[in-house]
C-alpha cells in the first residue's frame, strides 16, 4: 500500500464531510477562475483590439488619468504619420455615450478619419462601410453584437447628443468590445462630442517591429513630436497600455478582492474540517504514534489529506469557474464588454490557489496533530 492510497482512503472515510469541504473549496476556486478569467478576458479583449491590427504604439496625453480622458490635437497624428519608419497611424476619438434608442446602457463610440486603414479592418456583414460619400451626412456603422442585442437595422436612425445618425452598415469584430460599438467618421464624432480638432489618442504601426525599433519610435514621439505640438505625449506598446489602463486595473483588483473573500471562506472551511478530523481522530493518531509514526508523518498525513480535498475542490471549482465564465460573459450586462478567457494560466492559478489554501488551512491542525503525545492521545475519549 502506498502512502497516497492511505491518504485517499482516509479522505473517503467521511464522504459527506469531504464532499462538503470540496464543495466549499470548489465555490472559492470557481469564483477565482470566473472573476479573474473575466478580468483577464477584458484585458485580452482590449489587447487584441490593437495587436490584431499590428499596432506598435498607442499615443495619448501624458499624465491623463484615463485613456478616455486624454485630449490631443489632431495634428499630433498627422505629424506622427510623417515620421520615417511609420507604416500607418489611426487618430481615434473614443468615448462612451448614451444613445436614445439603446436605453440606459452607455455605448462605446469611435471616430476614425475618412479612409483610415482601420475601416478596412472592419468586416462588413450587412449594408456598407463608411466612405467619402458619407462625409457630412451623419452616418455610422454598428457592431454586430450591439446590432443583435438592440435590434438595430440598416437604415435606422440612432440618436446621440440630440443628433440623429443613420446606420449604413453592420460590422463584425472578433473582439467583443468593438462589436458592441458604434463607429463613425472622425469629423462627425468630434462634432457629437464637442471636441473639434481633437482626438483621444493615436495608434502607430511601425515598420521595424523589433523592440529596439519600437523603442526608438517611442522616444521620437515622446520628444520630437511632443515638442512640435507643445504637449506632453506618452507612447506605449499595447501590452503596457492595456496593463496600465485604469479600467483593467480596477477590474483585476475587484476580481482578486472578491476572490480573496471567497478563498478566505474556503480556507476557513478547510481549517474547520481538518481541525474536526484531527480532534475526532485523536486516539487514532495516538495509535499511529504508538506504532512508531513520527510527528512529521502525522503532519504529512493531515496536510496531504487536505491537499487531496483541495485538489478535488480545485477540479470541481475550475470546471465550475469555466462554466461560470461562459454564462457570465453571455449576460446582457457584460455581453460585448467582456469576453470569456479560458487559458491554461487560469486553470493553473485555480489549482495552485486550491492547493495553497488547502495547505494553509490544514497547517495548524496538522501541527497540532503531530504534536499530540501518544500517551495523551491514547487516553482521549
Amino acid at each position: 500500500m502506498r502512502f497516497s492510497t492511505f491518504i485517499f482512503r482516509n479522505v473517503l472515510r467521511r464522504r459527506i464531510r469531504s464532499t462538503l469541504t470540496m464543495t466549499g473549496m470548489a465555490v472559492a476556486v470557481s469564483a477565482v477562475v470566473a472573476l479573474v478569467g473575466l478580468a483577464d478576458g477584458f484585458r485580452q479583449s482590449m489587447l487584441k483590439l490593437y495587436t490584431d491590427r499590428g499596432v506598435s504604439l498607442i499615443v495619448t496625453q501624458a499624465g491623463a488619468v484615463s485613456p478616455l480622458s486624454t485630449i490631443l490635437p489632431e495634428k499630433v497624428a498627422q505629424d506622427i504619420s510623417k515620421l520615417d519608419g511609420v507604416e500607418a497611424t489611426c487618430a481615434g476619438l473614443v468615448d462612451f455615450q448614451m444613445f436614445e434608442e439603446f436605453g440606459s446602457d452607455p455605448v462605446g463610440l469611435q471616430g476614425w478619419p475618412l479612409g483610415n486603414y482601420m475601416f478596412s479592418e472592419l468586416k462588413i456583414v450587412g449594408g456598407e462601410n463608411l466612405s467619402e460619400k458619407h462625409l457630412g451626412n451623419k452616418c455610422c456603422v454598428v457592431g454586430n453584437n450591439l446590432a443583435n442585442t438592440k435590434s438595430v437595422k440598416i437604415g435606422q436612425s440612432i440618436t446621440v447628443a440630440e443628433q440623429k445618425f443613420t446606420v449604413v452598415g453592420i460590422f463584425e469584430s472578433s473582439q467583443d468590445i468593438e462589436s458592441n460599438m458604434v463607429v463613425m467618421l472622425l469629423e462627425d464624432c468630434q462634432k457629437v462630442l464637442g471636441k473639434k480638432g481633437s482626438i483621444t489618442g493615436c495608434t502607430v504601426n511601425v515598420k521595424d517591429k523589433t523592440p529596439e525599433g519600437v523603442a526608438a519610435m517611442r522616444e521620437l514621439i515622446e520628444t520630437k513630436v511632443a515638442e512640435n505640438n507643445k504637449c506632453k505625449l506618452r507612447a506605449k506598446p499595447p501590452g503596457e497600455f492595456v496593463q496600465q489602463s485604469n479600467q483593467i486595473r480596477a477590474a483585476s483588483a475587484m476580481a482578486w478582492m472578491t476572490s480573496a473573500v471567497a478563498l478566505f471562506i474556503g480556507g476557513i472551511g478547510v481549517l474547520n474540517t481538518m481541525f474536526m478530523s484531527v480532534f475526532e481522530r485523536t486516539r487514532e493518531i495516538g495509535i499511529l504514534r504508538a506504532i512508531g509514526w513520527c510527528p512529521s508523518r502525522v503532519m504529512k498525513m493531515i496536510l496531504l489529506e487536505s491537499v487531496l480535498l483541495s485538489i478535488g475542490g480545485g477540479v470541481i471549482g475550475t470546471a465550475g469557474g469555466l462554466l461560470l465564465i461562459k454564462v457570465l460573459s453571455r449576460l446582457p450586462v457584460v455581453n460585448g464588454v467582456v469576453q470569456a478567457a479560458i487559458t491554461p494560466d487560469i486553470v493553473m492559478k485555480g489549482f495552485a490557489i486550491a492547493i495553497v489554501v488547502g495547505l494553509v488551512g490544514a497547517a495548524y491542525p496538522a501541527y497540532r496533530g503531530s504534536q499530540l503525545l501518544p500517551t495523551e492521545a491514547l487516553r482521549h475519549e
Partner: protein, 286 residues
C-alpha cells in the same frame, strides 16, 4: 543474574545487563501534576528475551504508566529504561524505537475502518525498512500466521471482534519487533475469542520465542503467562513465576518477596528467529 548483581547498584552497572536482557527499568519513577501524583515509584524490572510476562494490578496501580515506560511511549521522571541494552534516555526520538522494536496490541484494536486487513497490517511498515513492493506479501503472510489468510481483503467491519484483534496482532508484528506489548488485549472480547487470542500469544511465545508483555487486570488471563508482575499504588508489589511462585524483587523496590531468591528472570528462551514468518498455523477462533 545473582542477588549480588541486583543489590550492588540496582541491577546492571553501565547499562550492560545480561546478554538475554531485552527490556529493563532501573529505579523508574513517574510523577505527574507537579509532583502531586506518583504514578510509578522506584520500579526496577528486568525482562529477558523470550519471556512471557503479565503485568497485573487494579485500576490506578500504575500498570498503564509502566506500560508507557516499557513501550517507549513516555519517559520516566527519574530512573532509566534500557531497551536491548541501550539506555533510552540517550535516544533523541522514541518513535523510531517503537517503530522498529516494539509491537503494540491495544484493547480496542484501532484498525483503520477503510483499510482491508492486509492494508491495516501494512500501516506500521511506513516507518519500517521493508521495500514497498514486498509489504503486501509480508502482510499477507503475517495474517496467515494469526490464522486469517482467508480474511486478507476483508474490512474490519466484516470481521468478528476476535478476528480484528488478530489483525491488530499481525499489525504489531509488521516491523519484526523484538517484543510484543499488549494492553488488555482481550478486554473487548468474549471468552471464546479471548481464549483464541491467548492461544495465539502462547504460540508466538512458544514457537517463535517472541517476548510478550501483557497488561491485564484479569487474574485468570494473567496467570497464563510464565511470569507475573503485580503492581500496587505505583510500586511493584510482587514478581512471581507461574504458577504462583513468588519471586524476589530488588531490595530498594520497597516490595516484599516470598522467598528472597533472585528474580528468576533467567527463563531463557531461544533467540527469536530472524525470519519473521515461521511456518505455523493458528486455528481461527472468530
Amino acid at each position: 543474574m545473582s542477588n549480588n548483581a541486583m543489590s550492588n547498584n540496582g541491577f546492571y552497572p553501565n547499562g550492560s545487563a545480561s546478554s538475554q536482557s531485552i527490556l529493563r527499568t532501573e529505579h523508574v519513577t513517574k510523577t505527574y501534576t507537579d509532583g502531586q501524583v506518583n504514578a510509578l515509584v522506584d520500579v526496577s524490572i528486568d525482562i529477558h528475551r523470550g519471556e512471557y510476562v503479565s503485568i497485573m494490578g487494579p485500576s490506578g496501580s500504575g500498570k498503564s504508566t509502566l506500560l508507557n515506560m516499557l513501550g517507549m511511549l513516555d519517559r520516566p521522571t527519574s530512573g532509566e529504561v534500557f531497551l536491548d541494552g541501550q539506555p533510552v534516555s540517550r535516544v533523541k526520538s522514541l518513535d523510531q524505537l517503537r517503530a522498529q522494536k516494539i509491537g503494540f496490541v491495544f484493547q480496542s484494536f484501532y484498525l483503520l475502518p477503510v483499510l482491508s486487513a492486509e492494508e491495516n497490517v501494512q500501516v506500521p511498515m511506513f516507518e519500517g525498512t521493508l521495500p514497498m513492493n514486498l509489504r503486501p506479501q509480508k502482510a499477507a503472510e503475517l495474517l496467515a500466521v494469526v490464522g486469517l489468510s482467508h480474511r486478507v481483503n476483508h474490512l474490519p467491519l466484516q470481521l468478528s471482534v476476535g478476528e480484528r484483534q488478530r489483525v491488530a496482532i499481525a499489525r504489531a508484528l509488521a516491523n519484526d519487533p523484538i517484543l510484543l506489548l499488549a494492553d488488555e488485549p482481550t478486554g473487548n472480547l468474549d471468552s471464546k475469542s479471548a481464549d483464541g487470542v491467548f492461544e495465539l500469544f502462547a504460540r508466538l511465545h512458544r514457537e517463535r520465542g517472541m517476548t510478550i508483555i501483557l497488561i491485564t487486570h484479569s487474574d485468570d488471563l494473567g496467570q497464563r503467562a510464565d511470569r507475573i508482575i503485580r503492581m500496587q499504588d505505583g510500586h511493584m508489589h510482587s514478581d512471581t513465576r507461574s504458577p504462583g511462585v513468588a519471586m524476589p524483587i530488588a531490595a530498594n523496590n520497597g516490595a516484599s518477596n516470598a522467598n528472597g531468591s533472585s528474580s528468576g528472570l533467567g527463563m531463557l528462551r531461544p533467540p527469536r528467529p530472524k525470519s519473521i514468518l515461521p511456518p505455523f498455523a493458528v486455528p481461527d477462533h472468530g
